[in-house]
Structures are given as C-alpha cells and as structure tokens.
Amino acid sequence: MIRIDSVTKRYPDGTVAVDRLSLEIPDRSITVFVGPSGCGKTTTLRMINRMVEPSEGRILLDGADIHAQPVNTLRRSMGYVIQNAGLFQHRTIIDNIATVPRLLGWNKQKARSRAAELMERVGLDSALAKRYPYQLSGGQQQRVGVARALAADPPVLLMDEPFSAVDPVVRKGLQDELLRIQDELGKTIVFVTHDIDEAIKLGTMVAVMRTGGHLAQYAPPAELLTDPADAFVEDFLGADRGIRRLSFFPSAALELQTAPIVAIDTDAARLGARAAADAPYLLVTDLDGRPLGWGEPRNLTAGSIRPEQLIPYGRPFVPGRDSLRAALDGSVLSPTGWAVAVDGEGRAVGVVSQQVIGAAIRTAHAEGRDDAKVGG
C-alpha cells in the first residue's frame, strides 16, 4: 500500500502544486488521479518515485518512508510509463524493454528472454524485437513503454498520461489491454489522466483533483457518478453521468421475453399465434437464431419473409457481460424501442422493452450502489 501523508509541493517561486494531500492507494488495484491541467496530479505521481521531492509531508510504501532506500533502488522497484512512451531511439525494441533488468545486473541473454516474454504479454509481434522505435506506430510504442515498465516485474506501476497521445481507437485498445494485463498480474497501478472517461473505465479508485493541488473527491467510480462531492466534481464528470453510471449496473437481472422471437422459416400457425400475443413487433431471426430485424405481425407472411423488409434492430447486448447502459443503448438505437439480447455467439436469447429497462434502472438505484464493475 502507498500512503500519501499530508504532502505539499511548493516551488521556490511560491507556486503550490500539491496542497496537503493525504490518501491511501490500495494494493493490486488501479488508482487514477484525474483533474484539469495544473491540478498537481502529475506532480503527485512523480513524488511517489521521487522524481519530485515533496516540500512537506511524507509518502510511505508498505509502511516505510520512500526515503528509507536509495532513490535508484526505489525507482527500479516501480515501473514508469510516460506520455509518448519515451523510448530510447538508438536501441532496438527488445533492448528498450530489457533496460531495467540490465540495470539490475541481469545478463544480456536473460534480460532479452524476459523482454521477449513481455512483448508477448502486451500484444507485440515478436518480429518487432529487432526494430527501432521510429519504425513503430504510436500505439505500438506505447505498448513497448508498458512492457519496459513491467520488465523487472515491479509491484508498483506509475503511469503518467500514458495513452493521451494516441488516437481514440488505439487508446481504447490500450485501455482494454491494460485491464487484461492487470487481471493477470495484479499490480498496484497509479495512473494519471485528464480524461474522466478513462479514469472511470480504468479506476478501482478515482482521485479527482482541482487546480491548486487539492483533492476534490476520492471514491470508486460508481460512487463518484452517483454522489459527486461538490459542484466542481459534478461539472468535471460532465452532463451524462446518470447514463454513464448505468455502466456499473449489470444487465443480467433484466426480464427477457422470448415470445416475440420467430425464425425466418416460421409457419403461418406459429406466426398467427405470436401475432395474437400483445407484442407489437416480432424479431425475425435467421435459421441459426441470429437476429435479422423487426417486423410488424400484420406485414409478415409465413414463408415469404424477406430480410430487407425488416426494421433494423440496433445494437444487441449480452446479458451478464454488458451493463444496463448497453441494454438501454440498444433499446434507444432500435426504432421499435426494444433492445435485443444475444448470447456470446450472437444468437437472440430474448428482447426487452424500454419500459422494462427503465424499471430495472429504478430498481438498481433503489438497491443503492453496486460496486461490481462490468464493461459497457
């Protein structure tokens, strides 16, 4: 555990970057510092590996002051990832990754075989090992940066806006990759970003900081969205925090209806029976059960249903994996107002109306926070 104990950073010109900050960073989780520029988030991160020395207060790592050990020993026990990766352009990818093991005195062969392992772990093709940084894309370079930070298997990983300089699609890939790696390795990650969505997606705990180095709120992301501490945090979270909060509610409990689902080769009797039920629309699937689109019962004739006459069904969600946000999104995107639930293979398992989703949201709110975090 890293404990930041009333730490202040004041520069000689009188600027206060961090003002009496106190918080605890739990082990084996991702703690995100987020805030506008000049809020002291990067300074806080850099004080943990002593790239910046605090003016007052202290930082404890597993109970011991970080000044108790030589500075370079401390830094080698913490992976460090920065914006733009900061790779050594004169070294090959594999030698970049092997930097810290080499500093720790490993022989070249052992360091390189470790580096090759890491390349695989962060999803880099082994063919890139002998390339130089300029031959890689920004996203690949950032993966190398992460691999380099993980090379000596440090318990702590410090990440300073690591994904800010890449485009949104690559950034999303890198975020998913980080979550996957974290699932496997369970590091204590301290992550700095100015992007609140990134903070909510990655953080187990999120520290929102405001200009002047003050901590505005320190809470799990679901709590942040439910209960912002003040107007600043609420404003920083943006307009649609209610919708975003739905990401934290699972969709598994939604009551699905299977009656309105018909296969494309359905016979007249079944079609008639389905149409007699109160569903205003029927979901037509192909022979494997994959959704094709919605049709009004009176427009459908058994044996001659054509996929192109059907109404688009929007984006389906996977109950259990996706959140209520995905289910709501699916129902909003579908012109019929019904969301389609599919299994892992994309076969329709049920449909659900906006009314039912709305009721589920109200129930979830009533049951209070649900910290179980699901993707969405």
Partner: protein, 221 residues
C-alpha cells in the same frame, strides 16, 4: 603552364617521393600535427560540452568563448606565440587548438541540448544513474551532431596546420611556404593539392566513423 600541369609535374617528379622533404614524410608530419591538435581540442571541448549540455547550464558563457575563439586570427596567434615561447610544437598547437575548440564545444553543447527530454525522464524514472543517462541515453542520440562538430574542427585543423611550416616545422605547409619563397609554383600547387586531398580524406574518415558508431535507430537509414 596551367594548374593541372603544375600538379602533374609535382607528383611525377620522383625526387618528391622520398627523403626528409618527400611527400610521405610531410604527409605523415601533417597527420601528426592534425591529430595532436584535434586530440587536445576534443579533450577540452567534448567533456565541457557534454557536461554543460547535460545540465543545461553555461550556454551563454560557451557562446561567448566560442565567438572570442573564432575571432582570433590563427596566423597572428602563431607569430605571437613564437615570439613568446620560441621554437617548438607549442606555439603551433595553441592556435590550432583555439581554432578547433569552439566548433566542438558549441556543437556538443547544442547536440546534448537537442536530445528529446522524454527518454531522459523515462531513464531517470526507471532508476538509471546519472552517468548512464549521459552516456547511454543522451550521447548515442547526440552523436551525429557531435561528430559533425568534430569533423568541421578536424577540417579546419588540417587546412590551418600548414602554418607550422612558417615557424620552421614540417608538414604539408613546407611545400607551400618553400615554394613561394623559391618561386617554385609547381611545389606550391602540389602542396595545396595535398592539403585539399587530406581534407577530403578527413571527410571520408568521419563518414565511416559515423556509419560505425551511430545506431541505425538514430540514423534512420
């Protein structure tokens, strides 16, 4: 007789190829003077440039010294030193070194300053000692520019080392100064051609050194 005839006559005269005043001897002397001067200049310019560049301090002072060094006329300095110090290598070395230090010092400083700060930050953050940051992170990236400073210093030394002959020493300047005195223009042109050839050879050597020492990741093909 045009210049090419002079050149031809000079190099085809077999008496110019042996003895204490032969081309091999004079060439070797010239190489020795040049290497010695370059070694002193690099010995001063490189460490000062690397350290000031690494810490980013003293840029203005360096610029001042460099301007002053460039403003001093080498030939005037040679005569002055000869009068003060008498006969010997020292009066020749001083102007050559003063000539060569500024380009080495200033380009080394600039080369170190122009290194991208983010790998340096990453290296420190990973726990790399300061000396390794300098020699293993900054220097390899700064190397092409540093070599270009050494190269221009070397070329200036090669062409200016001819002044050694003015104070009775050897080197290729011997041909030029003796030739002028004897009104033997064949000798003057021959000496000048050799100096030019040696300057070109210096360029070639630096090109090879750059190919061997600069990482392909920095050279970028």
């Amino acid at each position: 007789m045009n210049v090419l005839n002079y050149v031809h006559a000079f190099f085809s005269d077999s008496s110019h190829w042996h003895g204490y005043d032969g081309i091999p001897t004079r060439l070797w002397e010239h190489v020795q003077y040049s290497l010695e001067a370059l070694a002193y200049a690099a010995g001063i310019g490189l460490p000062v440039g690397l350290i000031t560049g690494h810490y980013g301090r003293g840029g203005n002072t360096l610029a001042l010294i460099a301007t002053a060094g460039r403003a001093l006329p080498s030939f005037g300095l040679l005569v002055l030193m000869f009068i003060w110090l008498g006969f010997g290598m020292l009066p020749v070395m001083i102007p050559l070194v003063i000539l060569a230090v500024p380009p080495i010092l200033v380009t080394t400083y600039e080369a170190m300053r122009s290194v991208d700060p983010s790998p340096v930050d990453a290296a420190r953050g990973m726990g790399m000692p300061e000396s390794r940051v300098l020699f293993q992170v900054e220097l390899p990236v700064a190397l092409p520019l540093i070599l270009s400073g050494l190269r221009s210093a070397a070329i200036q030394i090669v062409s200016t080392a001819t002044i050694a002959a003015y104070v009775s020493l050897g080197g290729l300047g011997r041909y030029i100064i003796d030739g002028l005195y004897q009104k033997n223009y064949e000798k003057v042109v021959g000496g000048a051609t050799l100096v030019a050839a040696m300057a070109l050879a210096t360029l070639g050597i630096f090109w090879a050194v750059q190919r061997l020492t600069v990482s392909p990741g920095v050279r970028r093909g």
